[in-house]
Symmetry: D2
Subunit: 331 residues, 4 copies
Amino acid sequence: MQFLSDNAAPVHSAVWDAMRAADAADTPYDTDALSRELDARFSSLFERECAAMWVATGTAANCLALASMVEPHGGVICHEEAHIEMDECGAPGFYLHGAKLLPAKGEGAKLTPGDIRQVLSGITRGIHQVPAQAISITQASEYGLVYSAKEIAAIAKLAAQYGLGLHMDGARFANAVASLACAPAQAAGPIDALSFGFVKNGGLGAEAIVVFDPEKAEILRWRRKRAGHLQSKGRFLAAQLLAMLDNDIWLANARAANTAAAMVAVGAGDRLIYPQQVNELFVQMNPAERAALRKQGFSFYDWNDASVRFVTSWATDPDHAAALGKAIAAL
Amino acid sequence: MQFLSDNAAPVHSAVWDAMRAADAADTPYDTDALSRELDARFSSLFERECAAMWVATGTAANCLALASMVEPHGGVICHEEAHIEMDECGAPGFYLHGAKLLPAKGEGAKLTPGDIRQVLSGITRGIHQVPAQAISITQASEYGLVYSAKEIAAIAKLAAQYGLGLHMDGARFANAVASLACAPAQAAGPIDALSFGFVKNGGLGAEAIVVFDPEKAEILRWRRKRAGHLQSKGRFLAAQLLAMLDNDIWLANARAANTAAAMVAVGAGDRLIYPQQVNELFVQMNPAERAALRKQGFSFYDWNDASVRFVTSWATDPDHAAALGKAIAAL
Amino acid sequence: MQFLSDNAAPVHSAVWDAMRAADAADTPYDTDALSRELDARFSSLFERECAAMWVATGTAANCLALASMVEPHGGVICHEEAHIEMDECGAPGFYLHGAKLLPAKGEGAKLTPGDIRQVLSGITRGIHQVPAQAISITQASEYGLVYSAKEIAAIAKLAAQYGLGLHMDGARFANAVASLACAPAQAAGPIDALSFGFVKNGGLGAEAIVVFDPEKAEILRWRRKRAGHLQSKGRFLAAQLLAMLDNDIWLANARAANTAAAMVAVGAGDRLIYPQQVNELFVQMNPAERAALRKQGFSFYDWNDASVRFVTSWATDPDHAAALGKAIAAL
Amino acid sequence: MQFLSDNAAPVHSAVWDAMRAADAADTPYDTDALSRELDARFSSLFERECAAMWVATGTAANCLALASMVEPHGGVICHEEAHIEMDECGAPGFYLHGAKLLPAKGEGAKLTPGDIRQVLSGITRGIHQVPAQAISITQASEYGLVYSAKEIAAIAKLAAQYGLGLHMDGARFANAVASLACAPAQAAGPIDALSFGFVKNGGLGAEAIVVFDPEKAEILRWRRKRAGHLQSKGRFLAAQLLAMLDNDIWLANARAANTAAAMVAVGAGDRLIYPQQVNELFVQMNPAERAALRKQGFSFYDWNDASVRFVTSWATDPDHAAALGKAIAAL
């Protein structure tokens, strides 16, 4: 009964089927019929024109998306616990050629305009200090919290005011949409680029970079190639994305993961550090309690001395989730 | 009847089976059971200790391998028509942080010690000129020619003499081994790192970086992550590599591709610019002849005004190859 | 009566004389007689073998020095208000190819082993997080405080324990030596590289990078050239450094600056946020008081809402310093 | 009697005087009165609006200028013997973050539109190949030849047609202007940026980057800082440039160097590989003849097996030049 992460979950059967169906030789790289379908499909999903490109990992998606907004001497405001700051081994520094992440504080790993202004207000030394050129927010956040359309709009307004690009790390964007129960366009808001995660949500090895200013997308095609991310059998990545979009599997999978998390949350009750919104839970728990749960067959990560993290996935067995909820309640 | 390239060929059924078998959740990144098997399997194949890592593309494999040998201020001697020089959109400049490729001339896109010395002899300006730190050779070469064990040994000797790393771009290493009919260890020779291609040869999206100095491999683990190439479901990449090694499918596939090329070569006869050794043929042909072939249903690339290129793959239908051979002979 | 900064102070007459004396043509770059003298002179000063190179700015000195210790995927622990973090427009990101600064908190912009351990203890995610490879400390610190030999030794011990390089930003190293009243070797301690500042202290445009592992210095010669910092008339930079070392002008100048600061400090009394140790003072002052001082002809920077900064230089008129001290006392 | 290079020549007395006059403390970096004068002075010289910035070396000037035109994934067409290709230790790769130099062949180290088209015609592989984004030409060329206004106009036309930036490496721009006997605006032509050399021509350590699109200059201010080239006592660099412009000393010095070269050229006669236009001569000479000249006290570099190089400077003693001319004639 695994609640460690959603990042190694199985692949959805529809994805397997679509990949097998793409086996017949087609043209290489992103010139195949499936890859050429992406722009239209994502434009339809987001109800506005965009360019969409596959890439194997969320790290590459985030960094390439940011490369369309940030010069080597620029900076990216992000939460101090954002994935790009904490978990990508300096990939943004590599992809952005030394550009600097400018960490902001914010409750629940979310940022408010006030949090962002705090960083901006510290940039006072002109040419001697890295200028902010973009903001990166995470939907849902590292603590499993979602941004409402209104919250994103407020950040976008600030970004426009300061001439900053706005990027959304959507490794769990599907879970956020499911949680917000709104249109994808609402959950994304007026951002410039989105890293739309599919791997955690039933894919095998394909994420989408969605760029809402198609002109800016051009540079990413070069940068993707240059980063060794233009796979020659790209049709298999396109197939994954399209299979997930077909019949809204992406949304159904995200709902399943969220629902499983909700079942755990019921049992966690007041132990929850943040309200359950998507598929990550941070739960106060002492060492003895952790040991007790593990003895019952539940696996999960210690987050810090005071709490543990549970993550559900699209493939989490609801019975396991229910069992975990009960087990926590019984502690 | 497609002879454009091997880079978009279908995926071998054993690879599909192995990937499906890897579906059950395992630990993420390269901590899964399959990924952890790679070092031993490749060490066994090459009859000496090495570290082996999966990565999605040959470009990433080449660049990461070189990153273990070359500092940002250094240079890499390679053939002026090498893939890293001509076809990777400057990826080595990106991965090596501005290090410079130092192009050498050489017959058939192969390099001899003399060709390499030619470049070395031009490096005379001390601190003002980029110092060579590595040599990169391609097995088989861009013109489909293989290096014998003796030829590689001579280059390795020169590399050692000048303190240079030695990298082999083995996008078609399997075809070279099949052609040389020798052990992989012989076809690789005393190199420091090998980009061992599997994608063209029946894989889906997994190449192997093989580093023969395991200590130097350490840096690549960081660099792979930093380049966004550490896929979270890495088990599916490991599964591809292992499936190809099992039962020597990699070798059988390469032989099939080479055999198909040989069937075409028979028909091409004196038109061949280089002898057929692997699965690429460069054939003299005028525009009218090209048109005639295309009219018969053969697709292939114009190489230049005087010649065209035919590439076979592991999945090329022998009947198609025979038909092409006859069609050329009949021109 | 200027107390804004020491960075635009006049050039010492001995420096002018030495530069003029170097006018006769010599060999270019760093092959001239003066440049070739540097290693020996600094080795003698520091009582151990080192390599010393001129460079035009402290930013270049810091970044090149760090380039001898840090790989592109590595990190540098430094104070969150260190010059490399706050005032160099991301130059470390440029020179270190995207390596990350890892900011630590510490009283008075100094770091203790405990402060550094705090950062190290947060690096727990293996390959997913930037590994620390060096520590950079500033002597004297951004708040004008010096490290004792004992304090540096404790940090060096920690660095050795974790296999980290140890760099000292010595933009005001001379002032620190003067304050500590010890040998330069004591004020530097067992570090790996020092950016030894001369520009603020009477030079025109020459700082010294001092590398205590001469083997590691080699890479810096390439990197300096590659950064466009190998000036063709390098003899004029060497001349500056040698002139400052001759007759211990560097020390006399630093003492003069420190003494002037002490005269101001006497007047500042309890308003001082940190004890006066070198030539920078941070003084609590309200807006009305600031205006009053400025009306009397004193220029200085506001530091924040609560305090102002006074900086003296080797050329500060003692009468001005005394006057400022009195004026503050009289507020 | 030194004819090795002009790069270590003495500093002109007017430059020394101007530097001393700038000693009085002013504001730091490029906020001083002298630095603020540069835009206007160079705009006047070039008869059109431009931004002008000091920097210590030609390498930094070239690389920063190119950074205003070339993205990290782009390429710069330059002569295969250009300084940026041969003599800057990969600095363009560093400053341009891995962008690639695309070497062209051309007589006398000059490029014609045809030479450039030759490179452009080889860029056919779309996303797989580095796209050209700029052209860099050298005025005067590495073989001492100048571009006429008409020749530059033809290249500029080609650049415009392909949307390429146009950079001029003017390390010896003054010598070219003197040789062409035209206005600086004519000798520069409709380029986007010029590295205007002063160091070889009587300066100490200051070159000018002249950017004709002031908007593009903005990025260079950040990049200069980030490269550690924003000297705090920048007033001394501005003083050098202004002193050289005053009374057209830059032009008088260049004429003196050219005249000295002409005196040598008279003696060299048919031995000259290229006609004398500026202050560099390449002269056919066998080993015995070289030895004979050196015995007479002339120092110079061997260029290759067949020829030697003589370089005069603004400070070359005309008697030495005459003597060398006679000595060569007498061989």
